[in-house]
Amino acid sequence: MSLQQLLNGVSLGSVYSIIAVGFALVFNILKFSNFSHGGVLTVTAYTGFLIATRFSLGLPLTLFFTSLAGGVLAVLIERVAFRRLRRNKSPVIFFFVSSITMGILLENLITIAFSSNFYSYPKFFQRTILEWKGFHMAVTDFWMLVISLVVLGLLMGILYRTKLGVAIRALSMDPTTTLLMGANVDRIVVATFFVVGILGGIAGVFLGINYTLYPQLGQLIVKGFIASVIGGLGNLSGAVVGALLLGILEVILTGIEGIGSGLAPVVIFFITLIFLILRPQGIAGKIIQEKV
């Protein structure tokens, strides 16, 4: 493994980490795996594409507007798919089915609107390759890494330095007590979904730049899911570590003769399986137990 591969792996992993964190946040407060996040990724990837091509904005403004759109979309999803379930205190299975349904719904809306054609983002930068002491890095990869790190830093700031962050963490520990303390649980959940949608919007644009645009793009949510499993479900820093590991692993696997990008998912599947057998609680080591 060369340092160059490590660098590429980290920049891929940083995009995965944005997905994984968005995924883990919802898992934290509502305790279910939110597959609708994949739908958010798809829709925002296309939204970003429209914004970038129609208004020919640069990357920063595209990211800004797309993440706002993602936030609004996630809040809408919460309203349609989860609000009533929360009120009814439905079992976790229902949340799960609801989120899968929402994911499929959004994917198919995009398929209908754009058909199954492939699109690609306009080029945001003049130069395509950065060179420094013999290391090469695509300019987009570089900015993805930087922006992802900044976003993760901001998120940590929000979670540990603001009132909203305290509320979100309280909700993840015990919803009933949070309610008893006089917090408006509905508002916290909506705010969390907004934050998650923003993360989804940023990840969507990056995925759209990295790959071509196609309606099934949102299925890359599974990378965030795998990263969360490796890191420990619901654990934010674990999810980031897991995502970086996954990114590096994928770059290495793709480079190996005989595996390539085609069979990499197979190897990743077996590694995940082995991981689940040996250490189901993930790297972070916190087991989430079902309470009686």
């Binding site: 009814n88 609801s98 349904t101 499929i104 719904l105 198919n108 069979l263 197979v266 599947f269 689940l276």
Partner: protein, 285 residues
């Protein structure tokens, strides 16, 4: 006539698949987003055996189903003891892995172009008989000791375990059985259309089956059958484009899950034969 026969055949195949999903999701409360990939295992194993090695159809069909069972064992063994979320993830990952393998072993499977030239062996009587047999099997399973234990596990796993129900073994059994049923559905599918490609077996098909079980009522086998017929046949007859059909499914599920969480029939079963039904717990799960 030709169209109505093919609609009937596809509905029967979908009933077999849905009865497998009913076992795993309806009874045991596990989510498999990779049921379609067990279907792929069945379709491809039997198809390749016949096309490339000239094995007779009955042998190939049995081998294909057994291959599905084996794949179910491989996936189920490490995962059934984990949280339900993990089961969904692993089966999803398995689906991706199967599609990747099928695409890459192009000298055997035909790759993305698909496997062509499977002889048309699936006939209407065979499919009808298979569907009836699968339903008979699942129906008896539901009202057996195992079925009742499954419902106990779905409702409250911890309580069920404390009553002495061997949770992991039972869940593995159910997982394998449903993988076998899906694989058999795949065999029938492949030998009816005479052509399979990896894109046919993506996770939306698995999700579609789960949606059908939910639509009919989580604990009701007859409900699942009714919804497989309704959701599978109506759009074929009304000639919807497939994207619109899926949109319709999703809308239905969202409405059901929000306003009638028990589904069409809840826990009840339709039927002429009066069976001793399981006590209604009052809640769907």
């Amino acid at each position: 006539m030709g169209i109505s026969v093919s609609v009937l055949v596809f509905t029967c195949i979908s009933i077999i698949g849905v009865s497998g999903v009913f076992l795993i999701t309806g009874l045991a409360g596990m989510f498999s987003l990779g049921q379609a990939s067990f279907m792929a295992v069945g379709a491809y194993t039997s198809g390749v055996l016949v096309v490339r090695f000239g094995v007779p159809f009955p042998v190939a069909a049995v081998t294909g189903t057994l291959a599905g069972v084996l794949a179910g064992l491989l996936v189920g063994l490490p995962t059934v003891r984990l949280r339900r979320d993990y089961i969904a993830l692993v089966t999803f990952g398995f689906g991706e892995a199967i599609i990747a393998i099928l695409n890459n072993l192009s000298h055997i499977t035909g790759g993305a172009m698909g496997l062509v030239g499977i002889p048309p062996m699936t006939t209407l009587p065979l499919v009808l008989l298979s569907a009836v047999f699968s339903l008979f099997f699942v129906w008896n399973f539901k009202f057996s000791k195992y079925g009742r234990q499954c419902i106990a596990i779905r409702t409250d796993e911890l309580a069920a375990r404390s009553m002495g129900i061997h949770g992991d073994g039972l869940k593995l059994l159910v997982f394998i059985l449903s993988a076998g049923l899906s694989a058999y559905a795949g065999v029938l599918y492949g030998f009816y259309t005479t052509y399979v490609d990896p894109g046919l077996f993506n996770w939306t098909r698995s999700a579609e089956w789960i949606i059908m079980v939910f639509f009919g009522g989580l604990g009701s086998l007859t409900g699942a059958v009714v919804s497989a017929i309704l959701l599978g046949t109506l759009p074929e007859i009304l000639r919807f484009a497939s994207e619109w059909r899926i949109l319709l499914y999703c809308a239905i599920v969202l409405v059901i899950i929000n306003f009638r969480p028990k589904g069409l029939l809840g826990e009840r079963e339709l039927g002429i034969i009066k069976k001793k039904t399981t006590p209604d717990t009052g809640r769907a799960v």
